[in-house]
Amino acid sequence: MDAESLLLSLELASGSGQGLSPDRRASLLTSLLLVKRDYRYSRVLFWGRILGLVTDYYIAQGLIEDQLAPRKTLYSLNCMEWSLLPPATEEMVEQTSVVKGRFMGDPSHEYEHVDLQKVNDGDKVFEEEIVVRIKEETRLVSIIDQIDKAVAVIPRGALFKTPFGPVHVNRTFEGLSMSEAKKLSSYFHFREPVELKNKTLLEKADLDPSLDFMDSLENDIPKGSWSIQMERGNALVVLRSLLWPGLTFYHTPGTKNCGYIYVGTGEKNIDLPFML
């Protein structure tokens, strides 16, 4: 959600039960403004909150003009002092995939993971235990990256691609119509397209290159990994990810108001196939 319209956005996303306390809200409004100035971002998003056992991480993201360019991620424990996180690498994601359980809320906490490694010593093969230490900060980076890639959502038309490549906010976007808002195909993954290249020419025929340049949620696997609901008597459409429980996307049809927020434990719901 845009840091500038934080209050309205929180009110719209409150249906999932996760909001911010008044003091957090107030401090976010203040500090994110400063973040925008200091880091020279064109847009600052309040990304959400990862619930730790001791404290929570508050996450914000800074965007430059090109909306699909790699985002800078910042975290804070008190909503006032923000620290920049390094960009996620594939190595990081792989390394942290072994960590299970909840976040602690301490970036310097180290998870210990015992890795069994086969060691050839002459003829014999030993299994040696190697303790891998993984910092929680690394895990935080990788989880945010995974969530962003999997479930960040933007309605169709809110962004458009210029002929030169960069993606900009569509100033003339006036919201989805009511009939479009009920379809998953009207929502896109807010990331560089992955699936789009695999589409056949026939499927691509109807796409508008300036608008349909991202993957739609329609083809997400497994099917039904989104709960789409009309709340407040059709005045608000809310998408909840079932794969990453805690991610709420909201949009008021007919207006520009849209955004997503993640408030959760930072764990993927791997039980999803059993639960549908």
């Binding site: 909001g19 306390s21 008597g233 005045a235 059993f274």
Partner: protein, 707 residues
């Protein structure tokens, strides 16, 4: 005048003949451009075509006709800035040479008369001055139509050069007067395209180039946008276009991003919006419907409605809860519930998210003697179940030896897991639906499955192990589990009621009723945050059996099913250890950890102003369950998917081992075929034993093989 007309004809002939000359091409080209450049109404364009007729026409008519185009030519010429200096400067010198009183345009033919008589070259001069006119005209035409600008521009310079050479030729023969004339003409020609039009041209070019500049953000340009806008305005011709020009501009831009859909529009798409608004309107009006003051007083006295907004305020401090707006609607819906149902006490339990719709859950305690109907209904359903099972038994099909374990009866309403009654609705304003009471079997199975709620109570639960009931039962089971796990209160808020004898309760496995402690003095918020032992469970723990109070299945079986097999009784005589859970009002510090994850997280809602902060408790076992306490008041709330947290991934239980179909014995087991050696050995043995009985050998062999 006759001369002038005759000479004019001659000139025209020459003009037509000039096309064959080297520079004639250029003039022809420029005149073509001139034709194409000018719009049709200009009569001068028709000049060359109509001229042949003018030869036979009276002398006066060509002049009048000539003057007519002039009017047309000067007309636009006067409007454009560069023309005024040109008109007087070009024509007066020429006019001086001939009849000065004539109109400037007429001066051309007359002026050409003088040199014409002497030399044909004067035609060039005239031509050049005509070209001057042309350039001037083309300048005007550029004002009308930009696209031709460059085209004509290219031609402009060439005729000028031609006229220069012409005037040089003239210098050789003409007198000074004419030389001056030619010079002035030359200067004029020189000045005309270079100064005035070039400024205009470049200005126009620059302006257009600026307008055509594509935006670096959108790739559009203002020129196209303006022309699209004008097209749209002219197509649609709206009233007071100037007032809505901003919107037109926006519409034009938005048109880039909207697909051209067919004209079929769904008219009904707004209907549900109005429908729910209509329903919620009833919520807001319900206060007015009850007019009687008497009733109002009674209500206030026997208030069963909780102050939802107050607890919502505290939860907001904790950063949880629905929005203020939604909470208030829930509040009104709860009021509606208490008005329409005989409810002693109720509270807002929470919200369970579903795939299609969500559930708003209200926890209620019915007034005494109001839950009889429900009990009757349940009896009916139980009877039905019995009938069904009997019907199956009547069949001739082979009967299963499987004996279902003794069904554990469900707890009476107002006790154990069925202590409260739960009402759910999908959205404030929609009707409240009472959930059926929960059975131990449902709780046991609900622990083994993990399914999303859909939001429709009648949905069957398709799972393994099969869940006895539909979504309403599953929802009720989960509510019971969540309540048992997460409903906590500060230590000392509740106390055991003293009236009941302790001995009786011990038999039941723990006291199950409590009352509010009137002497509760409150606990310091800091203490609540620092020590979990200041929080206690005030909802009974649900045993693995699915009940809160342990039920001994053995006693039951002896009483009711006396004709059971001895074998089974022997089995059941094995002592079944009584399941014991933590008693009521146990501190939550004794809750079990989930694989080294503490089950609760406590914190102060604000570190900035700690003196007025409240204590917030978050369950890690049931994500979404919260409790707050400000020292005196406390409340529990659950908003979530209704699933228990587990660090391990869910694995459905393994199906039980397959039952034996029949007792297996040596007759039924397969044996290896004898090898050839064995057969031969056997045969040899038989031959040795019974030499005479050779005939039966084969059959014996076969029989033994089958054994």
């Amino acid at each position: 005048m006759e001369d002038s007309t005759a000479q004019k004809q001659e000139k025209e002939n020459q003009e037509s003949g000039e096309e064959e000359r080297p520079w004639g091409e250029i003039t022809a080209a420029s005149s073509q451009d001139f034709k194409s450049g000018l719009s049709e109404p200009l009569e001068s364009e028709q000049g060359p075509e109509t001229e042949p007729y003018s030869r036979s026409s009276p002398p006066g008519s060509p002049q009048s006709r000539d003057s007519a185009p002039l009017g047309d030519l000067t007309g636009p010429g006067a409007s454009s800035p560069p023309s005024p200096p040109e008109e007087p400067s070009s024509t007066p010198p020429l006019a001086l040479s001939g009849q000065g009183l004539e109109a400037p345009r007429q001066a051309h033919p007359n002026h050409s008369v003088i040199p014409e008589a002497e030399t044909p070259h004067s035609d060039h001069l005239k031509q050049s001055s005509d070209i001057g006119e042309l350039t001037h005209l083309t300048c005007q035409s550029t004002g009308n139509a930009f696209p031709q600008f460059q085209q004509t521009n290219g031609h402009l310079y060439e005729p000028r050069d031609v006229s220069c050479s012409n005037s040089k030729q003239k210098e050789l023969r003409f007198d000074i007067f004419q030389e001056e004339d030619s010079n002035s003409n030359y200067d004029l020609d020189e000045a005309e395209p270079e100064t005035a039009p070039s400024v205009l041209e470049t200005a126009i070019q620059n302006a257009k180039a600026y307008l055509l500049k594509t935006s670096s953000q959108s790739g559009l340009n203002l020129y196209d946008h303006l022309s699209n806008m004008l097209t749209k305005i002219l197509d649609e011709r709206p009233e007071n276009a100037v007032d809505i020009i901003e919107n037109i501009s926006q519409d034009v831009k938005m048109a880039h991003f909207s697909k051209k859909l067919d004209t079929l529009q769904n008219e009904n798409e707004m209907l549900p919006t109005y429908e729910i608004a209509e329903k919620q309107k009833a919520l807001f009006l319900q206060g007015h419907l009850e007019g009687a003051d008497q009733e109002l007083e009674d209500e206030i006295a026997g208030n069963s409605l909780p102050n939802v907004m107050e607890s919502a305020f505290y939860f907001e401090q904790a950063g949880v809860g629905l929005g203020t707006d939604e909470t208030y609607r829930v509040f009104l819906a709860l009021k509606q519930l208490t008005d329409t149902h005989p409810i002693q006490r109720c509270r807002f339990w929470g919200k369970i998210l579903g795939l299609e719709m969500n559930y708003i859950v209200a926890e209620a305690e019915l007034r005494d003697g109001e839950d009889e109907e429900e009990a009757e209904e349940e009896d009916v359903t139980e009877e039905r179940d019995n009938e069904d099972s009997e019907g199956e038994e009547d069949d001739e099909l082979p009967r299963s030896f499987y004996k279902a374990p003794q069904a554990i009866p469900k707890e009476e309403s107002r006790t154990g897991a069925n202590k409260y009654v739960y009402f759910v609705c999908n959205e404030p304003g929609r009707p409240w639906v009472k959930l059926p009471s929960v059975t131990p079997a449902q709780i046991v199975i609900a622990r083994q499955i993990k399914k999303f709620f859909t939001g429709r109570l009648g949905t069957p639960i398709i799972s393994y192990p099969p869940f006895p009931g539909d979504e309403s039962n599953y929802l009720r089971a989960q509510i019971a589990r969540i309540s048992a796990g997460t409903h906590v209160s500060p230590l000392g808020f509740y106390q055991f009621s003293e009236e009941e004898g302790e001995e009786e309760e011990e038999v039941e496995g723990g006291r199950d009723s409590f009352e509010e402690n009137p002497d509760f003095e409150g606990i310091q918020v800091v203490d609540l945050v620092e020590s979990l032992s200041n929080w206690v469970h005030h909802v009974q723990h649900i045993l693995p059996q699915g009940r809160c109070n342990w039920f001994n299945p053995i006693q039951k079986s002896e009483e009711e099913e006396e004709d059971d097999d001895e074998e089974k009784e022997e089995k059941e005589f094995d002592y079944i250890e009584q399941e014991v859970g933590p008693p009521l009002l146990t501190p939550i510090s004794e809750d079990l950890e989930i694989q080294s994850i503490p089950p609760w997280t406590t914190r102060l809602c604000s570190n900035l102003i700690p003196q007025y902060a409240i204590a917030v408790l978050r369950s890690n076992l049931w994500p979404g369950a919260y409790a707050f306490c400000n020292g005196k008041k406390f409340e529990n709330l659950y908003i979530g998917w209704g699933h228990k947290y587990s660090p391990e991934s869910y694995t459905p239980p393994v199906p039980p081992p397959v039952c034996q179909e029949y007792p297996s014995g040596p007759e039924l087991t397969e044996m290896d075929d004898p090898s050839v050696e064995e057969e031969q050995a056997f045969r040899a043995a038989q031959e040795a034993a019974v030499p005479p009985a050779e005939e039966n050998e084969d059959t014996d062999e076969d029989e033994e093989d089958y054994d």
